[in-house]
Amino acid sequence: MTFLWGLLWGLAAVMFIAGGAVIGVWWERKVSARIQMRLGPQQIGPAGVLQMVADVPKLLFKEDIVPDNADKPIFRYAPMAVFAPIAMSVAVIPFWAGWAPLDSTVGMVFYLAFPSIGVLGILLSAWASHNTLATIGGMRAAAQMVSYEVPRSLAVLSVIILAGSLQPTEVMEAWQWWWVPLTFVGFLVYFIASIAEMNRGPFDLPEAESELVAGYFSDYSGFRWAIFMMGEYGALISASLFGAAVFLGGYRWLPGVAGLAVFLVLAMVLITAVMWIKWTFPRLRQDQLMTFCWTVLTPLAIVQVVVAGVVALWL
């Protein structure tokens, strides 16, 4: 029975992420269009909301090209290895008082651990493509994602220390409004490191379209390419939901359904902020990216952990 429930929730998470990605694409096109003095999609449906209905079949019907020199089975299934861990990470996000799809006692670590498997999928797809630019993109992705996990985990650690629990629902129950100013630096570190984790601008070096064409997914087309995009938008949605919950309080601001609405609005604001940043900033260079991680974000996160630890002594 538990297994069946797990399967059902897994399916729901995948549908959630896929649907969210499709909406996210439309939203990003609208946001970027406003930033760039354009209109964005507007032909299909009111304000182009049905654009995605046209886009998904297009991607599905595109030819699925597998390069001759590619390592074919790995090339075919690597996108799933990128997408699946991200879909899994949604499972532990606390949506409602005392409820998360998978209410694990180690949910906070679970959330940090599973997206990190996605790097493996990126590396395998880069390797299997057998393409110079993809290889460089894969190496950049590995270096970047492994590095940015450190400040990201430390930032989340500050909340874990304050709550004294690894269970997301318990963290949410323990959450107090004054944690927002207290962990604000930690939230910023988490937010920036999450952008780097999901390979979005200004940290999109692994796919840097002006340097590596599309990096590790240069050779992908059609639906396999779409899975990469879904993975990217899934990571964006998942990271925003998690950040809105454990750092910004999520549903705790208002009781009942209104709380859920506040939670979703907070996540939406974070998603839009990520898009805003992407369409405004130029891309960092590899060495600048690493320097930023190790000399700015990590020390800040450590300071935040210390502050949280000292405060936690009085709790």
Binding site: S32, I35, Q36, M37, R38, H130, N131, T132, L133, T135, I136, G201, P202, D204, L205, A208, E209, S210, E211, V213, W279, T280, F281, P282, R283, L284, R285, Q286, D287, Q288
Partner: protein, 399 residues
């Protein structure tokens, strides 16, 4: 009736001879030689700004050597010109620098006029100055915006492209074409300014500097953009002179050399304008020089629009222009300052109706030759930014 003489009628269509054995089509994959990797960028790559192939030898991500391989857009325009009359060559020159067609038109026409001893009416000279300064703005927009896009700031590209669009709209109402104008002709220009054009042009000139200052603030003031471009691709002034660099590439390195002032042609001495010069010779200075040049161009255009009022409308062609030019034997060279640098055309006449030889001194060709020099020691990410800052247009590089 005139029969075509040499057209093969009873033969099969000629077959291209060497295409399938060209060594260029072999794409090197990752080849390790010692500790370095050879990476092939292009010929079709979003950052090569055309069809350029760069063979890069990488040590990790550090560029050991970058070898540009050009000629993918070589159409043999110099050879084609030997087979056309002087007027028929003008459309060919459009296809040289397709981001700034007016320049090649003008440089070629100046060479023809020098060869044939044609005096151009002053109104036509003013119009030429106006369209070429507008073209400078349009062309620089295609250098500044992509500098943002190369570093990942795609929004800057849209902002500059908007400005270019306004210029291209002006050109469209002037001559009907948006890219290849065929507007400057030997002896003058092809059409006079249409009604209301001057007002539209003044409107553009009035809003352009503000738009440029906005880009200056949000692109050149951006901390990441500065970190990505300052101190990158440094070219010192001596190298710039020795390698024959010209235009913003040379001026970014502090070489204060602009043909509009230093070898004045046309009516430029009548205008008051300054030449922006950089000091560090890095990508940032090269790109920013273009931005200020665009603002200076606005000043020149408004002065030229004022000056235009003195001349009677319609006097845009030299008197007594023959239908078919057959200059006396000899050779002539003339050059102008295009958006990319000094663009010269060398013409040799044998007294017939066709040029005996045409040579285009292309600034983009000379500037691109600097790529191995300025990119060595920087990273692969910097390479595309440096290539973009040299602003090559491959129609002109390959000819």
């Amino acid at each position: 009736m005139i029969e075509p003489q040499d057209t093969p009628t009873d033969q099969a269509a000629p077959v291209a001879p060497d295409l399938d054995c060209a060594p260029d089509v072999v794409m090197p994959e990752v080849i390790h030689e010692g500790d370095t990797t050879i990476v092939n960028i292009g010929p079709s790559h979003p950052s090569t700004h055309g069809v350029c192939r760069v063979i890069v030898e990488l040590d990790g991500e550090i560029v050991k050597h970058a070898e540009p391989v050009i000629g993918h857009l070589h159409r043999g325009i110099e050879k084609m010109a030997e087979n056309r009359t002087y007027l028929q060559v003008v459309p060919l020159t459009d296809r040289l620098d397709y981001v700034g067609s007016m320049y090649a038109n003008w440089a070629y026409c100046r060479a023809v006029e020098r060869l044939a001893g044609i005096r151009v009416p002053e109104r036509a000279e003013y119009i030429r100055v106006i369209v070429c300064e507008l073209q400078r703005i349009a062309s620089h927009m295609m250098a500044i915006g992509p500098a943002g896009a190369d570093t990942g700031a795609t929004s800057a590209f849209m902002y500059t492209f908007w400005q270019r669009e306004l210029v291209v709209d002006l050109f469209e109402s002037l001559c009907g074409a948006r890219l290849t104008y065929n507007y400057v002709r030997p002896g003058g220009v092809s059409f006079d300014l249409p009604d209301g054009w001057i007002e539209k042009c003044r409107e553009f000139v009035a809003q352009h500097p503000a738009a440029m200052l906005e880009i200056d603030r949000f692109l050149f003031g951006n901390v990441i953009f500065r970190a990505r471009t300052k101190g990158i691709g440094v070219l010192d002034a001596d190298d710039a002179v020795s390698w024959g660099a010209s235009g913003p590439v040379a001026r970014g390195s502090g070489v204060d050399w602009d043909l509009r002032r230093d070898d004045p042609y046309s009516v430029y001495p009548r205008f008051d304008f300054s030449i922006p010069v950089g000091s560090n010779g890095d990508v940032y200075d090269r790109t920013r020089v273009r931005l200020w040049e665009a603002i200076e161009s606005c000043r020149i255009i408004s002065q030229a629009l004022d000056g235009l009022a003195e001349f009677e409308p319609g006097t845009i062609k030299a008197d007594g222009m023959p239908r078919l030019l057959a200059p006396r034997p000899g050779d002539a060279y003339d050059h102008i300052e295009s958006a990319r640098g000094s663009l010269g055309v060398y013409l040799v006449s044998d007294g017939s109706v066709r040029p005996y030889r045409m040579k285009v001194r292309s600034p983009a060709f000379s500037n691109l030759a600097l790529l191995p020099l300025v990119s060595e020691g920087y990273t692969l990410s910097d390479l595309v930014v440096i290539l973009g800052s040299l602003d090559p247009v491959f129609g002109e590089v390959d000819r």
